[in-house]
């Protein structure tokens, strides 16, 4: 197990290094420059390049960047917020993006479980059809459509929540974006729970439980749900990463100052440090979550742990 752990961690670090290198090369190949302004003269541009060390060869810049990054220095912004440290920019926004992503995962998991459980218990009835239809809608309609619908009806018409992100109402402001984002995980989890639960309900040990005369709710909570839960936890990891990194469109609709918007701005303004940092932070989150999921997988499912230990 220890060996396996070390191997996985080493692979993750190598992956991150390659990602950073690719990002750097892509910035290099990107046409234009952050200092392409009709009002700057050639001499001024040369000065700016020198000032920010962009006149150095690519290799030198890459290793300088790598070295600074390990000390938490992600460089400064060239265009979005002149000379402001990018590490701070990302830090300020990251927590907000994470909060919304996490809330969406929590809401999605709860709704998904409810829908999936109800559908499985009422298998082949109209309730099942309804729940399954909701799940299909959730998967097929993009989150920004939900975002716009919520924005118009819940925020503008019913005035229950702020229409756009408002820093003075930080909690109320993230509810609608999180709801909009939670539709897709709700749908995937519901479908997953439903099929897992049907499997469990048809298994021999549930038959035994029923035969023993254990009450329905106790059977569902102690036996059915618990056994359906394990596979669901393994899909939560990728879903969470997807939400944390894929919410830029919803951020745009609700005007949320999150990492997604920052990344888009960085690309539009050719703000190299911002673009690299945001893309890298996303990659880092992805790699770390996948690592944790991989490791947890062994712990959660005793069968996997036992098989591995057996080897």
């Amino acid at each position: 197990m220890k060996k396996y752990l070390i191997k996985r961690i080493m692979i993750s670090i190598a992956t991150l290094f390659v990602i950073l290198l690719v990002l750097f090369l892509m910035m290099e190949l990107m046409p234009g420059s952050p200092f392409n302004d009709e009002k700057l003269t050639e001499a001024q541009k040369a000065l700016l390049y020198a000032k920010y060390g962009l006149d150095q060869p690519l290799v030198v810049r890459f290793f300088t960047y790598l070295k600074n990054m390990l000390t938490g220095d992600f460089g400064v912004s060239y265009a979005i917020n002149k000379n402001y440290p990018v590490a701070l920019m990302v830090k300020e926004r990251l927590w907000l993006s994470c909060k919304i992503g996490l809330l969406a995962v929590v809401l999605g998991t709860i709704f998904g479980f409810v829908l999936g459980t109800v559908a499985a218990l009422k298998h082949n009835s109209w309730v099942d059809t309804l729940c399954s239809s909701i799940a299909v809608f959730g998967v097929s309609i993009p989150s920004y459509v939900f975002a716009l619908v919520l924005c118009y009806f819940v925020a503008f018409k019913l005035k229950l929540f702020p229409i756009l992100y408002n820093a003075k109402k930080p909690i109320a402001s993230i509810v609608l974006p999180a709801l909009a984002l939670s539709f897709s995980p709700t749908a995937s989890i519901a479908r997953f729970v439903r099929s897992e639960m049907l499997d469990v309900l048809n298994s021999d040990y549930i038959l035994l439980v029923k035969a023993k005369g254990i009450k329905d709710y106790k059977m569902i909570f102690s036996h059915v749900l618990r056994n359906s839960l394990i596979p669901v936890i393994t899909v939560l990891g990728p879903i969470m990463v997807g939400l944390l990194t894929g919410s830029s469109v919803v951020e745009k609709v609700f005007g949320i100052p999150g990492v997604g918007l920052l990344l888009i701005n960085g690309i539009q303004y050719n703000d190299y440090n911002v673009t690299i940092s945001c893309a890298f932070v996303y990659s880092l989150m992805y790699v770390v979550v996948m690592l944790i999921v991989d490791i947890l997988y062994g712990f959660i499912d005793p069968r996997i742990r036992i098989t591995k230990e057996g080897k």
Partner: protein, 521 residues
């Protein structure tokens, strides 16, 4: 039993909803009192460093919390702000007397040395400021603080627009001691700033909002009624919903929303000083041909572009100098010059035929434009216009910075380009096309044009305001007579402004002034 279970789950769900919505119930929007106003901005604040700021949003913010030698009044005329001035008879020497009651927010007085330091910082190559050229453009040969209260500026030529530029943030004063004590951190957040204007910045939450509170120590605090000003960085349909809900008092409309809101009480159109034109790269064989350029010039249906494609208050360009932008003795440049650009499809076809015959082949050109919705729509219509005249037009869409890069490298044929003026004088446009100008992307070369512009700026006529103005008029005629560039439209802006809000002063040739806003109850 199953029913009970479902009931329990439903209750759980309801509880979750309530828990999440707990903060939402009593979240009714704050009602605006007369003393506070919230405005939407569609671009984020980029820099609060007067030397480094380059965009309109930052300039508006700087004009609120900083002040200069002069301030533009509602008509765009420079009026004394932190200083009063006397001008020598030949117009070459300005002496500014700094007000005794002008103070920094840390209580120290604003002195002539603060201006000297700021201007030196602006032109210092290490600062690499975009606007470093302003000092030279005003023919300033020397500026110095004679004593704490006296600031002297000497020029090699009289400069008609110098005083208006004194209201431009790049020339505002800086407190040397404070700026240097903050080092790299100066003006990066509200903790690293010092103010000398009617407001102080209280919050700067990047990508979200920034706010100002009234500076009671400002000498002219009485002229600013608003106690609190907040700008929120929000845009598009949801920003307009915020306006409709009464949460904000000002929002810019994007073109697709204009029809929907054109009957709204707060609907407001204004002209900006930006001019969009087609830059023609003359080293290309086809564009070296004057008939081909003339065909492009006459083929563009500018009225339709402004009224049908854009609909945002933009107007058809009449020349390379915008309308309502530069005035001489109170008369608009465009009024004196009249309309130089004309749409005439028959003439365009005629010129095209002549040009194609001279070249010996049909003309295919590539149109370069940027990837904004507005530019895409305009470019598509320009393509249609040019194809009506006989051209074959291929399209090339790029992000703005890449487009500029291609233009600077001469890697284009026809490009839809924009110039934002720096001061309210035709010179800011006329200067762009002299042979050696760095913005002369199309490599236009005319000795007559160069000589006319030189005469206006440095020759015997430079000191004579009337003669200089006439030469500026003459220069535009030469430029467009050669079909060197093809003006298309002058930018308009459409806003929804709370009808109770007044006092925002828009300046086509300068920074919009938000110091004197009033919001009726």
């Amino acid at each position: 039993m199953k029913k009970l279970f479902i009931l329990a789950l439903t209750c759980m769900l309801a509880l979750t909803m309530v828990a999440c919505g707990g903060n939402g119930g009593n979240d009714t929007p704050d009602t605006n009192t007369v003393k506070s106003v919230t405005l939407a901005t569609d671009t984020d604040l980029i820099s609060m460093d007067t030397s480094l700021a380059t965009d309109g949003t930052s300039f508006i913010a700087l004009t609120l919390c900083m002040a200069g030698l002069a301030e533009l009044d509602a008509n765009g005329t420079p009026m004394p702000d932190l200083a009063t001035w006397t001008v020598s008879e030949d117009g070459l020497n300005y002496e500014f007397k700094i007000r005794e009651d002008a103070k920094w927010s840390n209580g120290t007085p604003v002195t002539a040395y603060d201006f000297e330091y700021s201007w030196n910082r602006l032109i210092n190559p290490d600062t690499a400021a975009d606007y470093a050229f302003l000092i030279e453009t005003c023919y300033i040969t020397e500026f110095k603080a004679v004593d704490a209260a006296t600031f002297q500026v000497t020029m090699s030529q009289p400069c008609d627009f110098f005083l208006a530029l004194c209201a431009f943030p790049s020339l505002f004063p800086l407190n040397q001691e404070y700026v240097e004590s903050q080092g790299d951190q100066y003006a990066l957040s509200v903790d690293n700033m010092i103010y000398c204007g009617p407001y102080v910045m209280t919050e700067w939450n990047q990508n979200d909002h920034y706010s100002f509170a009234k500076n009671a120590d400002f000498y002219n605090a009485a002229a600013s009624e608003m106690e609190e000003i907040t700008f929120r960085y929000i845009q598009g349909q949801s920003a307009v919903l915020e306006y409709e809900s009464g949460n904000i008092d000002f929002v810019k409309l994007t073109s697709e929303l204009i029809d929907t809101y054109s009957s709204n009480e707060g609907f407001n159109k204004k002209l900006a000083g930006y001019l969009w034109y087609l830059s023609l790269y003359q080293p290309v064989e086809e564009l070296a041909n004057e008939n081909v350029r003339a065909a492009i010039f006459y083929a563009i249906d500018r009225e339709t572009i402004a009224d049908k494609v854009l609909k945002d208050g933009s107007v058809a360009a009449e020349g390379i100098v915008p309308v309502g932008f530069a005035f001489h003795n109170g008369v608009d440049y465009r009024e004196t010059q009249g309309k130089v650009c004309e749409f005439n499809l028959d003439l365009a076809k005629e010129y095209y035929a002549k040009g194609a015959a001279e070249l010996g082949h049909d003309v295919t050109l590539e149109l370069l434009y940027e990837d904004s919705d507005v530019s895409k729509n305009v470019a598509a219509y320009i393509q249609k216009c040019l194809q009506d005249a006989g051209f074959t037009i291929t399209m090339k869409c790029e992000p703005k910075k890449t487009r500029l890069s291609d233009m600077q490298n001469g890697d284009y044929q026809v490009a839809l380009h924009r110039w934002g003026p720096d001061y309210a004088d035709p010179q800011t446009y006329i200067d762009l096309f002299t042979t050696n100008a760095s913005n002369n992307y199309g490599k236009y070369h005319s000795e007559e044009y160069d000589a006319t512009v030189w005469e206006a700026e440095f020759g015997a006529s430079a000191a004579n305001s009337d003669a200089r103005w006439n030469l500026m008029l003459e220069a535009e005629k030469i430029l467009l007579g050669d079909y060197a560039v093809v003006p298309v439209y002058q930018n308009g802006e459409t806003n929804l402004i709370n009808p109770k809000l007044s006092g925002i002063e828009f300046h086509a040739g300068g920074v919009d002034n938000y110091r004197h806003m009033k919001l009726a109850k």
